[in-house]
């Protein structure tokens, strides 16, 4: 049985010391081991940005694609091999700015993959510009007078787009984050896990302390029921999105793969590429 150490490689991340992404890396490694996976059974697909480098820092299959397109790439991988565990990962710019169109449609499509967003409310790799997650008034190099656009709420968007699994974690709580990833992978469908992963270099507002003072766990809210979509939406709005845990899960909805007519039970990558001459003749006859 593989342990979390088996998911480590010898590449030294180029993240700044103290970056929240280290915890996400560790949480993925621990969750993979806890789930009983072997390194070759996992594919980590990532976007572009500081966070996008994560696929290179885990001993598993990894594909570091183009900016904003992590979800199309990851969905293609899963459609080709439904036996692989596919984790997509990227930043808030990747998922909620350039890739927002894909995020919403991946959510409603509900292919069985897990999507982890390392949300630091800023563009780090390009050295500090505003992100769609930056709050109104937030000062950056690209918003020297403060952002005049409001931050978007990924949890509200996910819930309204028909998400079947929505969770939120925080880099300081490795235990909770690991468990959220495990639950996300086990979920039969698309799992969105937004992670507050502070940028210690360019974001001096949304710091570890800032989150610690504000975040509450949904499990601490009396009577919270993650299968209740309306309650989930109300709670997210009430706490301005500053909640962690499994916010919503629909265990009834079938995943995309279970609904595709005729879709192979075995990995499509193993499909027979030839057909019988009779089958070909049958296809040709339709054009006669």
């Amino acid at each position: 049985m593989a342990t979390f150490k088996d998911f480590r490689n010898d590449v030294k991340p180029n993240w700044c010391p103290g970056c929240g992404d280290f915890s996400v890396q560790a949480a993925i490694q621990r969750a993979a081991a806890n789930l009983g996976l072997e390194p070759h059974e996992l594919a980590v697909i990532s976007g572009i940005g500081c966070s996008g480098r994560i696929s290179g820092y885990i001993h598993s299959y990894g594909f570091h694609g183009t900016h904003g397109r992590v979800l199309p790439l990851a969905q293609g991988v899963k459609m080709a091999n439904r036996d692989l565990t596919v984790i997509a990962a990227g930043g808030d710019g990747d998922g909620f700015a350039i890739g927002m169109g894909h995020t919403v449609h991946a959510i409603r499509r509900n292919i069985d993959i897990t999507y982890i967003v390392m949300d630091n409310q800023i563009y780090g790799l390009t050295k500090g510009q505003t992100s769609p997650r930056s709050a109104a008034g937030f000062q950056t190099k690209s918003t020297p007078h403060g952002s005049i656009e409001p931050a978007l709420s990924p949890l509200e968007i996910a819930l309204s787009a028909g998400a079947t699994f929505v969770a939120q974690g925080f880099s300081s709580d490795l235990k909770e984050l690991t468990s959220l990833i495990e639950e996300g992978v086990k979920h039969k469908g698309f799992a969105l896990i937004n992670v507050f992963s502070p940028c210690v270099t360019y974001n001096k507002v949304n710091t570890y302390e800032w989150f610690k003072e504000r975040l509450i766990k949904v499990s601490d809210i009396e009577g919270y029921d993650p299968s209740d979509r309306e309650m989930a939406m109300q709670t997210v709005m009430k706490y301005d999105g500053l909640v962690t845990g499994i916010i919503y899960q629909n265990k009834e909805q079938k995943s995309y793969q279970e609904l595709v007519p005729g879709y192979s039970e075995a990995p499509l990558a193993e499909a027979e590429l030839k057909m019988s001459k009779e089958k070909f003749a049958e296809l040709v006859a339709e054009f006669m």
């Binding site: 070759h40 290179g56 991988v77 080709a80 894909h102 499509l268 590429l273």
Partner: protein, 590 residues
Amino acid sequence: MIEQLSWKVGGQQGEGIESTGEIFSTALNRLGYYLYGYRHFSSRIKGGHTNNKIRVSTKPVRAVADDLDILVAFDQETIDFNFHELHSGGIVMADAKFNPVIPEGKGVALYAVPFTDIATQLGNPLMKNMVAIGATSAVLDLDAAVFESVVVDTFGRKGAQVVEKNMEAIRAGAQYMKEQLDGSTKTMKLAKADGKRRMFMIGNDAIALGAIAGGARFMAAYPITPASEIMEYLIKKLPDFGGAVIQTEDEIAACTMAIGANYAGVRAFTASAGPGLSLMAEAIGLAGMTETPLVVVDTQRGGPSTGLPTKQEQSDLLAMIYGTHGEIPKIVMAPSTVEEAFYDMAEAFNLAEEYQCPVIFLSDLQLSLGKQTVEPLDYDRIEIRRGKLMNGELPPLPDKDNFKRYEITPDGVSPRVLPGTKYGIHHVTGVEHAETGRPSETAANRRAQMEKRMRKLEHIHFPTPVHKQLRHEEPDLLLVGFLSTRGAIEEAMERLEQDGVKVNHAHIRLLHPFPVDDVRPLVEKAKRVVVVEQNATGQLANLLKMNVGHADKIASVLKFDGNPFLPGDVYTKCKELLAQWPPLKISAMM
């Protein structure tokens, strides 16, 4: 008796013009005639002039006819728009309902036939199309019964009564027209066809069938004219093979999803037209950099921007060869017939895996949507070759080492393993990388990996990179084209030969890497070269000049008004160019 007929039906979009042409031509195809159809349509569902021009012949035909024998008109606009195509002795059959008029003095006969009235009397005015087919059959001296099997196939699911009503409409149209035909109009009796049952399909059908035959089991695509039929066919058929099609949110997702699926081991592709290909440019670069197999179909239409979405053009060529930032190995191929579209599409998946790079499969609207008779397709010719894809178990690697997915090899192609394989773990990234896939920016590694990628296509094996028709050792003229212009060029060639001009023809099927060794001798031996293509800037001519030189003897015949080349266009413009050679202007625009 005639060997060939050109027939056109026209009216307002949405009133069944397409199905009229479909039923007429399918029936004739079943009799063993060779058909070639071209639809004129607009980017709207209802309204606007549309027509379907169909050529019927006892021999194979691959071009739209220059003129017209019979025009069936459901409105006056159809006559006004198309009358100039009719030759002396031609016939217009028009719905009496709109009191049709034709210009005088051309020797064309007008028959006002009560298409709508006859159909209405039989119970449904929509059957006016069937009445028109019946009237046509009278002119052709064909028994109305030849349409029965097609009518059964078309309306059978609506019940026997609907089938019978439609047949009745055909017979009534035939009867009415027979009574009108007097000695002054000759019937156009077609010489008997060979009676062989052949396929009748559009290029997109052949591309889609070729994809499945070539082992494609996943497709991601976004609807667009003129590519959507490919996706629609796979949506219907892939469930039989365990595969799936995803209609994505945009073309970026479509292309990227196909890359993800190919990476994980499925033969996957996408199909689109110019606007979609523009969006895919970055993803195609990713496939090139990560050496992931990928097949992308580009059914060219009128550009730029939204351009002429339902019209013929060949103006994406250079964008397809060069359209991604940076430099990647890439194959750009272009079949010259529907049969080739089938075989080449299957082969595209082999090339993508053997060379581990993107393959752009070019088509154009005329090839993709023109419906034509197709010679039998031989499934035994289809091979599945997966290149250096590793099968079976791999030996263990030293602790935590990556598999060398980007190993430097003499031919530039590295062994490839699929995710899920034990001891095959490696990294894939669009960042420059070392042999293990891990990022590396050292100058030595950059040179080594860049040279490795570029080396892959130095000795590409492509069975027939050029379709050649070489009749002369030293021709007066070499005609060069690609894709659907083949038929028009071949017919123009015959006419030029009759005028005493010695003509050879080269149709380029592999556009990148350019088949220099195949093409150069043809250009060297010709006195003059004329490149026939459907764009305004002579993209293929420029590619030819860049690769084989001889710019001083290369001229262009260009057409970019949205309509396909007619054989007469090519013939006339070549005559003009030859008369004033060396050309004052480098091109002869249509």
